[in-house]
Amino acid sequence: MKQLFQINVNGKSYEVNADPERTLLDVLREDLRLTGTKRGCDIGLCGTCTVLIDGKPKRACIAKISSVGIPLLCKEGLGEVDLPHLTSPYKGEAPDIITIEGLSKDGMLHPIQQAFINCGAIQCGFCTPGMVLTAKALLDKNPNPTREEIRKAMAANLCRCTGYQQIVDAIEEAAKKINQR
C-alpha cells in the first residue's frame, strides 16, 4: 500500500507517494530523478549510492523511505489516520538528506569536489558521488585526517579504476583547503 511521505532532500521538502518498503535510492532516482546517486550492488556494499542523512553517510539502496521520511496524514478529507506500522525514528521533522546534487552551492563546487578534479581522483566517475559524500562526512568529523584514517573511512566505498590513491590525495588536499578558510 502506498503512503504519502515527506522527505527533505538538498534543503527542499518533497512529498512522495510510495510503498513504505520502497528504498530511498528508488525514490531519489525514479521519483525525484536525482540520478547522481548510483546503483552498484543494491545490497549496501559498494557505496555508490551513499547519501548523507543528518550528516552521516548512509546507503540509499537499503534505507527504506519509511525510515527517512515522515508519514503524512492522508489528505483528501479522509481525516487523520494512525500509521503504527511505520517506525520512522524521526518524529515530527524529517532528517536532512544530502545527495551529490546538493553539494555545490550556486554553481560553486565544494572544495572536496574541486580537489577530486585537481588530483585526478576521477576516472569512470561511477563511484565518485558516493566517494565525495563519504569524504565530506569524514572531514566534517575529522578535519585533519591522516592518509591511513582517510583510507579507513573510505573502506566501504569501492572503486575499480583508480586504486584509491588519487582519491586519498584529493581528500588530503580538500582538508587543507577547508582548514585554510
Binding site: R29, R33, L34, T35, G36, T37, K38, R39, G40, C41, D42, I43, L45, C46, T48, T99, I100, E101, L103, S104, L109, Q113, F116, I117, N118, C119, G120, I122, Q123, C124, G125, F126, C127, T128, P129, V132, R147, E148, I150, R151, K152, M154, A155, A156, N157, L158, C159, R160, C161, T162, G163, Y164, Q165, Q166, I167, V168
Partner: protein, 755 residues
Amino acid sequence: MVARVDAREKVTGEAKYADDLHFDRMIYAAPLHAAYPSALILSIDTKPAKEMTGVIDVITADDIPGSKQVGTVIRDHYVMATDRVRYSGDVVAMVAAETASSARAAAKRILVEYKPLKPVLSPEDALAENAPNIHYNCKNNIPSHYKVRHGDIKKGFAKSAHVIAREFKTTFVEHAYMEPESCIAIKNPDGSVTVHGGMQHPFTTRKFVSWACGLPLNRVQIIQTTLGGGFGGKDDTISVICARAAILALRTGRPVKITYTREESIRESYKRHPFYFKYKVGVGKNGKLQAMEIDMTADSGAYCATSPFVIWRPTVQCTGPYIVPNVKCDTRAVYTNNTFTGAMRGFGSPQVNFAIESMIDIVANEIGMDPVEFRKKNFFTQGCTTHTGQKLSQHKVSINEVVKKTFKAFDWKKKYEQCSRGSMDDEGTFYGVGMAASYRGVSLGAEGNDFCSAIVNIQPDGSIILEVGVAENGQGLKTAMVHILATEFSVDHSRIRFLDTDTSSITDSCPTVASRGTLVGGNAVLDAVKKIKDQMRPVLKELIGVSKKGYQFSDGYIVNRSQPRKKIKFEDAVAACHNKKMYLYALGVFAGPPVHWIEETGQGNAYFTYVYGCQAVELVVDARTGKVSVKKVVAAHEVGKAINPQMAKGQIIGGVAMGLGFALKERIVHNEGVIQNLNFDKYKIPTAPEMPEVEAILVENPDPAGPWGAKALGEPVGELMGAAVANAIFNATGIRFTEVPITAEKIRLSISPPL
C-alpha cells in the same frame, strides 16, 4: 596539469550513465536465465508471464527477427537460447513490463521444461575422448589454436645444462565495473532503431543489433553514454543485451530500458580466461636461455567471443622479454559449460606474465643465480630477434631502463637482502619483496584490422567539434584527444567539444581495446589537423603573407614564421576561410603500420611497436592467518610519451590495484557450472585500506608510430602483480605458489598444514 574534460559533470552527479536516462512511455525488460549450465530446452511456456499485470511483451529465440547468433570472431553466441542452454548465464526469455520489478516477477513465472545434460566443467573434460560437443559444428571443442615454431627445441634442450618444468594455473576473474550493464532502445518513426548504452565498443554493438534485428547497419544507431567502467568487459555481453532491447523496442514501439542487477551482471557477463600453463625451460651453463616449450590451454566457456585474441597475445608474449633461440608454443581455447570468457584488461597477458615471470624466478633459484642477474643476462637487446622472428629495431628497447628505474625508487638491493626466506620473525611474520617485468605489443597487432578515424569540424566562430572513432571508457580518452587537438591549434581546451561516440556519425574504428585508444585516436586527430592546416594555407597566404618557413599556431594566433609580426587570430582566420566558402572539416584517418603473422609457424612482425614495464612489491605475510599486507609498490612503465602525466599515473595505480586483486583474492567460484559469488558480499575487490601507496614512474622514449610519440598504458600496468607477488611470497616464506589467487587460506594451510 590539464584536468579531465568530463571531471566536472562526474563530480557533480550531472553525468548521464545509461540507467540515468529517461524517455516518455519507457518500459523495462528483464531476463530469464538458464536453470542449468547444460540442458536441452524441451518447451517454453510464456503464457503465465504474459498474463501478469503490467507485462507488455515476452520474447524467446523464436521472436528474433534476424540472425539468432552473433559473435566477434565466430558467430556461436545465441542472442537467446534456442534448443539448448550452454551456460548458466544463457538467456531463455525476456519480459518487458511497465516497471522493472514487474518484469522480473513475471520472468519467474515462465515455465521452461529442460532435459539436463551432464555439464563439461573443465578444458580437461572438454578435450577428453568422447566429450560431448558444446557446439554442434565444433567437433573437438577447440574454437581457436595458435602455435609458434622457432628454432629447434630438441637442439636447444640438448645444449642446456639445466632443464626445468613447471605448471601454472589462473582462474575466472570478474571485471567488476561499478556500473552494471544498462541500455535503452528506441524505435524511430522510420523503422530504424537507436540504442543508448554503456558499451566499450559501440560498433560491435551496432553489428550485433543489426544482425539480430535483421536491419542494415545504417538503420541501427548506437550512442555511447558515459561508461561506468569497462576493463574489456563491456563488449560482447552488453552488445547482446542491446540487441534484445532493440528487438523489444521494435516490437512494442516503446522505449525499452534494460538495466542489470549486479547478480544478473555477474551471472551473464564474460570473465577473464582461466589459463593452464606447462612451461619447460632449458638454460645453458652460462645462464643463457636456450629453449622453451610451452603449452597453454584457456577455458573459453560456452562461447568463443574474443578468445582468439586473448590466446594469441600470450602466444606472442610467451617468452617474456627474453631472447630465446628455440621456442615451441601451443595455445588453445577450449569450449566448456562454464561462464564464457573474453577480454579483460590485458588480453591474456596477466595470465602469461604470472607464469613466465614466476618461472624465471624458479629457474634462477634452481640454477643458483640471482633472479635479477639471470633476467639481465637474457633481456631483449636493441635489434634482437624475438621468438616470432621479429627484429626489435623500430623502437627503443627499454626493458633495462624500466627495471633500473623501478629498483632505484624501490631500494631493491637492500630490501631483497632483508627477505625472510622462510624464517619467521618473532612476531610471526615473513617479509619479502618480488618483481616482474614485461614487454607488450601495442594495439591489435596482426590479430586485428587496425585503423581509426577522427572528425575535426571547425565552426565559423572558431569553436571546434571533435569526434573520434575510439571510445571514452573512463580512462580519459576524451581529455587526451582534446589536449592533442587544442595543442596542435594552440587554442584553449574550452573551445573544443568532444562528442560521445555515435555510430551514425563517426566511422567504425575497431574496438577501444588493447590499450590502443591514445595511439590510434591521437594519430587520427593529427591526420585531421594536418588536412585542415593544408586547407587553410592558401587563405593564410592572403591574410598574413607568404611564408617560406610556414605558419605557426601559437597562443590563439596563427603566425607567419618568416615575418613573425604578421599574425592573425585563429578565429579570424577561420571566419575568413568560411567567407571563402570553405568548410574546415576533415576526416582524419590512421592505418596501423604493416604487421603480419604466419599461422603455421607463428612467425612474423606481430605488433608494430612494444612497451616495457617493471613492477616491484614489498609485503609482509602473517604466518598465523596467512594474510598478506602489501606495503609498497613501485611501477615503472615505458609509455613512449605521456599525454597527461597525472592521468597516466592514475592508470598505473589503478592497474596495480587490479593486479593485486588478481594476485591475492579475486576468484569467480563455479559450482557445477553455476557462479556462487554473484555480488560484492562474496566477490571481493581491493579496498582503500588494503592498497599500498604506489609509486608510479613514467618512462618516455617517444615512438615514431605514436602521436607525439605516445604508445600505450592501460593494460601493461595490470599484468605484472601476479608474478611479482608470487615471487615476493616465495622470498618471504620459501613457499612457491603456482596458482593465483594466492589467498590467505592457501598460505595459512601451506605454512602449517592441517594434521
